[in-house]
């Protein structure tokens, strides 16, 4: 699905990603773990198309196309979805209206007509149940005044409505209480199939008990220093990053 080759990224002249190689196939779930500031969100943002990040080397192939050549909205309509670590508040933009606009943008891109109002309401009520979302959040401005957990849940709710091919979940677990973690994880799992793929960025092994990854990668200082299966996450949790980094060096 996505092939990242030797990806180097800078922000305002500072090198952040220093040669990332990562292959994710349809049907797979990959977890990326790593210390604060190692570049996890940068990777997610670059894949989503954020213009502040400058790709200085490398390539990203997404379903046979050059991902780096596409605009932000084009990537989204082609099925790339970033669940933000810090979802943005949009004062005055009604959550339902926003969701409908996003869905219709995808439909327009695919050459389909705008969604019928009844069909939309039906879709929404299905997804609300899936994520056990408070219905009142739909009537409020996007993310404004939402609690940390509500914001994260709202991200996954959007994902459920837009049904992406490649989901990038940036610390979706942070800020969720134990019950919410389970609900959100179940939601993500329910969306997984042989046609799509998920990359989850997390600090905690706990999430990976719910969303079980096929691969775990450790990102340190802009490079993937180790990859393994789900047991690597357990090892990390036990030893901490320092030990793993040392282990690589010696």
């Amino acid at each position: 699905m996505i092939k990242i080759k030797n990806l180097h990224v800078e922000v305002e002249g500072t090198k952040i990603l220093k040669g990332i190689d990562l292959d994710v196939n349809a049907g797979e779930t990959h977890a990326i773990m790593g210390p604060n500031g190692s570049g996890k969100s940068t990777l997610a943002q670059v894949l989503a198309g954020h213009e502040d990040y400058e790709v200085t080397q490398g390539s990203v192939d997404y379903l046979g196309n050059d991902l780096l050549d596409m605009d932000v909205d084009e990537r989204a309509c082609e099925g790339v979805f970033l669940a933000f670590q810090y979802p943005v508040e949009l004062p005055g933009v009604n959550n339902t209206y926003f969701l409908k606009s996003a869905l219709n943008a995808h439909r327009k891109y695919r050459g389909e007509s705008e969604i019928d109002a009844m069909d939309f309401m039906e879709l929404i009520s299905d997804k609300i149940k899936l994520l056990n979302l408070k219905e009142s959040l739909l009537k409020r401005p996007v993310n404004e005044g939402f609690s940390g957990g509500e914001k994260k849940r709202n991200e996954i709710f959007q994902m459920a409505v837009l049904e992406p091919k490649l989901a990038l979940l940036d610390e979706t677990d942070s800020g969720l209480d134990i019950d919410a973690l389970r609900v959100v994880s179940n939601g993500v799992n329910a969306m997984r199939n042989e046609e799509n793929a998920t990359i989850v960025v997390t600090h905690y092994q706990r999430l990976l008990n719910y969303i079980i990854p096929d691969f775990v990668h450790v990102l340190v200082d802009g490079k993937i220093i180790r990859s393994g299966n789900k047991d690597l996450a357990i090892e990390l949790e036990e030893k901490g990053y320092d030990k793993i980094i040392e282990g690589i060096k010696t």
Binding site: E51, V72, F84, V93, A105
Partner: protein, 407 residues
């Protein structure tokens, strides 16, 4: 000075009208106007908007009418009543004065030459007398029609809101035909005790139009004046609000939304006179500017010594879509009482990059994302309109007229 010559000639020809009834008041007003003439940029309140551009056109007074019937209760064409289905007492300005329903003090000079000039040409106009305890919704079309050429028009609307009357007015300013217009409009509102008046005004775009508008309101005890002012850019537009809170418990809300693009110029000066105690005022103006547009916002709040317990809020926000657009925003507070609450704020910003990225990351293209954010931005003002129908209508119109960045 062919403009002034045309003006004087136009004025003199209005003196030949018989049964005018207020000739002496008009003559005095014209004399007042002539003392200063059209102001220049040297005057503080005209610093950013040069009204002398008006002198480039021939100021031939035109009050010719066209046959027009649309779904409005009152239609004025070039200041003259052409349709009137209002149930309250109405008529021309001179009729209002002659039968004592309009006070002569509207002819007082207030150091405003444009008010004097409008008064000098007050041969038509309209007064609306809203009876005490009455409830009404009135739709007004203030049409300026030009058959081609250069013309000056002086629409005038006088509103007397009787005791405890409750009124909603929707007024649309529209320019039709072709040619260059100087519109010098005045609205005088006087509000008796406990009167409520919500005034929505839409001043729509027209090329080649210079519009100077003055709104005067004086308010008695516990009256409530709510104004929603929607101004869509013009070659040169200036709209002033002068509100006098003359008795205790009076409140006014001044809400405004202005758009300008290209090389349009739009200027709002508001003055709220807090004269007596326990009055409130709430002002919120927002603008969106594109192209090389210039906008001015000057908000003056004058708290007189007797106006203890004044509560005044003022806020002006501006969204600049291009680097070439300019906003001059200035609060002007003069406070002579000590127990008052007065807050003001002004912001100038661009569309939020983070919000743009978020929307685009959800699939919206740049144009749709911008429009969605602008819709939210203008919604805050439009939502203040209490009438559902008028609010929805204004939402549709303003969304349709959102300026594009590069124009």
């Amino acid at each position: 000075m062919k403009a002034i010559a045309a003006l004087t000639e136009s004025f003199e020809s209005t003196l030949e009208i018989e049964k005018d009834g207020i000739k002496d008041l008009r003559v005095k007003a014209f004399e007042e106007f002539n003392k200063t003439g059209i102001p220049t940029r040297k005057q503080e309140y005209w610093k950013f908007s040069d009204p002398s551009v008006i002198l480039n056109i021939e100021l031939n007074h035109n009050d010719s009418i066209i046959d027009i019937d649309e779904n409005y209760d009152l239609i004025l064409c070039n200041g003259k009543i052409v349709k009137n289905q209002i149930k309250s007492k109405t008529g021309t300005v001179s009729e209002g004065i002659l039968n004592g329903l309009v006070e002569k003090d509207i002819f007082e000079s207030k150091n405003n030459p444009f008010l004097d000039l409008n008064n000098a040409f007050a041969i038509n106009g309209c007064y609306i007398d809203l009876e005490k305890n009455s409830e009404s919704t009135i739709r007004i079309l203030n049409l300026v029609n030009n058959e081609g050429g250069e013309q000056a028009v002086y629409p005038k609307i006088i509103i007397n809101a009787g005791k405890n009357s409750n009124t909603k007015i929707f007024e649309e300013f529209r320019v039709s035909g072709k040619g260059t217009n100087f519109i010098n409009s005045v609205m005088n509102v006087s509000m008796d005790r406990g009167a409520n008046l919500e005034h929505v005004i839409l001043d729509d775009y027209a090329d080649d139009t210079y519009h100077i508008a003055n709104i005067y309101a004086k308010q008695k005890k516990d009256s409530n004046f709510i104004s929603h002012n929607f101004s869509i850019g013009k070659k040169f537009a200036r709209r002033d609000y002068n509100i006098e809170l003359k008795e205790t418990g009076a409140n006014c809300d001044l809400n405004g939304l202005y758009f300008a693009a290209n090389r349009e110029h739009i200027d709002h000066h508001t003055t709220i006179e807090h004269i007596k105690n326990n009055c409130t005022s709430n002002e919120h103006y927002k603008g969106i500017l594109g192209g090389k547009a210039i906008a001015v916002f000057n908000g003056r709040i004058h708290v007189h010594p007797d106006a203890q317990k004044t509560d005044a809020i003022q806020n002006n926000q501006n969204l600049l879509l291009t680097d070439d657009a300019t906003i001059h925003t200035k609060p002007e507070l003069e406070i002579y009482a000590d127990d008052v609450k007065c807050t003001h704020g002004a912001t100038i910003g661009q569309l939020d990059d983070k919000a743009m990225f978020y929307l685009r990351a959800r699939g919206l293209d740049i144009d749709s994302a911008r429009r969605l954010l602008m819709r939210a931005y203008v919604g805050e003002i439009i939502e203040k309109i209490s009438d559902n129908e008028i609010r929805n209508q204004m939402m549709d119109i303003m969304i349709d007229k959102l300026p594009k960045g590069d124009e």
